[in-house]
């Protein structure tokens, strides 16, 4: 069964008088252990689709199934629970909290949860992404590539089924971008997760299992 499945998704934005149709009937799915790249020109609806997959936004029409569970009509708090348990996010500009150390940033998603202590797993994940000796550094003391690795470790702390990345290499140079992609490929197998990444980065295509191209809110096949 697909870990995520979008069926006939339409997303419209209403801004004043104008209605923008960002997605015009999109079908999409991803499986565990594969990396799917989403490409397409700017404004074609890539971020919009990723936000719907990530349960950060809800579609105007269509259904969203997470591991067979129809979450289309979930309310805000139910969606939060699903994000917490099944999804990991990596953003273009990292979005680490500046006053927390690397290991605390990784623990962040479970920081309010007293029932589990993720400190060990957080340190383990930082070791996996090659930051075993930077545990107590704050984001300001880390390079861009290192910050993005911390973000990846954070995305994995709750053992998600899906890792979502919107332009993960967008703010990194070619070389650093490549190491991040290698890291993600390794983790995809190790953790058996689906990775869905939006990108403009040509070099990323070499790492993808499948490439989906969006043009004007429609998937090209």
């Amino acid at each position: 069964m697909s870990v995520i499945k979008l069926s006939d998704i339409v997303k419209r934005y209403q801004s004043g008088e104008e209605t923008v149709e960002a997605l015009k009937g999109v079908d999409f799915h991803a499986e565990r252990g594969e990396m799917v790249l989403v490409t397409g020109p700017s404004g074609s609806g890539k971020s919009t689709m990723l936000n719907i997959i990530g349960l950060l936004d809800t579609p105007t029409e269509g259904t969203v199934c997470l591991d067979g569970l129809d979450v289309t009509n979930f309310d805000v708090d139910e969606l939060t629970e699903q994000r917490r348990s099944s999804l990991g996010f990596v953003f273009q500009d990292f979005h680490l909290l500046p006053m927390l150390t690397a290991v605390e940033n990784v623990e962040l998603p479970s920081m309010w949860d007293r029932s589990v202590d993720r400190r060990d797993r957080a340190m383990e994940l930082l070791k996996i992404v090659g930051l075993g000796n930077r545990l107590t550094h704050t984001p300001a003391q880390l390079s861009g590539g290192q910050q993005q690795r911390v973000a990846i470790a954070r995305a994995l702390i709750n053992e998600p089924d899906i890792l979502l990345a919107d332009e993960p290499t967008g703010n990194l140079d070619q070389e650093t971008g490549r190491t991040i992609l290698e890291e993600m490929t390794r983790l995809k197998q190790q953790e058996n997760i689906a990775i869905i990444a939006v990108t403009h980065d040509e070099q990323m295509e070499a790492y993808a299992d499948r490439i989906v191209t969006l043009v004007d809110g429609v998937i090209q096949s």
Partner: protein, 370 residues
């Protein structure tokens, strides 16, 4: 977490805390000032307001308070000192000059008079007390003799100048009651009670006993208290206290607005971060609690620092107004420390509610976009 968020923008946190501290100090010290003034005013008046003075009434057959009436008063009033006095006036002559003084015959001199040197006996049976000023005028000292109606009295103490009202400019000579045995009746009876309120109650009991006879009212004894003065002073002080607290409340409102502003600014500034928290699965309630905790930390720290500063201000104020700095610790004034602290915490949390609610309900997609 909350703690570190506050630590991040020290300047802003510091300013917010300062707002709270100023609010607390304003409320507490104004409240304490009211208490200090009240205490000082009461102690200035205290020697008069707790007294009841009794003299012959308009309908009395005698021109004084009789021995029987004194005994009757004593039998009713068991919880206060009853001090009958006879008064007259005379001219004292000494080698260095003459002085007119009022003469008081009293047994329990210590209850009525404070002496600056010598002693005021509980039972004055021999000897006399004389006003300081008169003694100085006439060059008299403790141990010197004074004559009244042919009888010599040795001075046993000098009466301190009375700083309440009454007394007048005239000097006073205090001798045993036996020295005025020509006068059959007492001119007045002073009853010294514990407070203004008991004086009032005592006066009522005496009125009831002596001046109300069935339906008729007859003034057998004239009974006076200074309660009226006490009352008008109390009501003035209450007004003053309200005015002080009013000023305090204004600073309170200003402080709340400052806290609200700081919390609002800090959540707006961190919108993206809060969006990240929500995106990675932090619940709305958890974000709410985090921001409220920050507000509460601010309130607690501001409240504690404010209370400490207010205590210092209180010490200085009590020292200046009443001369007794330690009195600030008594509950009557120290309760304002508690109020100030509670105010700081409560307003901080209240001011945090709106920003916290706003931040936790912000949609993460929008927050992340910027």
């Amino acid at each position: 977490m909350a703690w570190r968020n506050l630590g991040r923008n020290r300047m802003r946190t510091g300013l917010a805390a300062l707002g709270i501290i100023i609010g607390v100090v304003a409320i507490v010290s104004l409240g304490m000032a009211g208490v200090a003034l009240q205490q000082q005013a009461t102690s200035d008046l205290g020697s008069l307001t707790n007294e009841v003075s009794v003299s012959a009434g308009a309908d009395s057959d005698e021109d004084g308070v009789t021995e029987d009436q004194v005994e009757e008063i004593e039998s009713i009033i068991t919880d206060a000192q009853v001090i009958p006095q006879k008064t007259n006036s005379t001219e004292i002559e000494t080698r260095s000059g003459n002085a007119y003084v009022s003469v008081t015959g009293v047994t329990n001199a210590s209850a009525l008079y404070d002496v600056s040197s010598g002693t005021a006996p509980d039972r004055l049976e021999t000897g006399a007390l004389i006003s300081n000023s008169t003694a100085q005028e006439l060059g008299l000292e403790v141990g010197d003799p004074v004559a009244y109606e042919g009888q010599l009295y040795r001075i046993r103490g000098l009466i301190e100048a009375d700083d309440g009202f009454g007394g007048g400019g005239r000097g006073e000579l205090v001798i045993p009651v036996s020295g005025l045995r020509d006068q059959q009746y007492y001119d007045s009876v002073t009853i010294i009670t514990g407070s203004g309120d008991t004086a009032e109650a005592t006066a009522d009991r005496l009125e009831e006993r002596f001046n109300v006879d069935g339906r008729d009212e007859e003034e057998e004894l004239q009974i006076n208290t200074f309660a009226g003065a006490q009352e008008s002073i109390n009501s003035f002080l209450n007004t003053l206290q309200l005015a002080l607290l009013g000023i305090g409340s204004i600073s309170l409102v200003v402080a709340s607005v400052a806290i609200l502003n700081v919390m609002l600014m800090s959540t707006i500034e961190r919108r993206g971060e809060i969006g990240v928290l929500r995106a990675v699965g932090i619940r709305r309630g958890e974000v709410l609690r985090m921001i409220l905790t920050e507000a509460m930390f601010l309130g607690v720290v501001g409240g504690i620092v404010g209370a400490i500063l207010s205590l210092a201000v209180g010490f200085v104020m009590f020292n200046l107004i009443t001369g007794d700095a330690i009195a600030v610790l008594e509950w009557e004034s120290s309760q304002y420390l508690l109020y100030g602290f509670v105010f700081a915490v409560v307003t901080s949390v209240l001011s945090g509610i709106y920003p916290a609610w706003k931040a936790s309900n912000d949609r993460p997609v929008e927050a992340l976009r910027g």
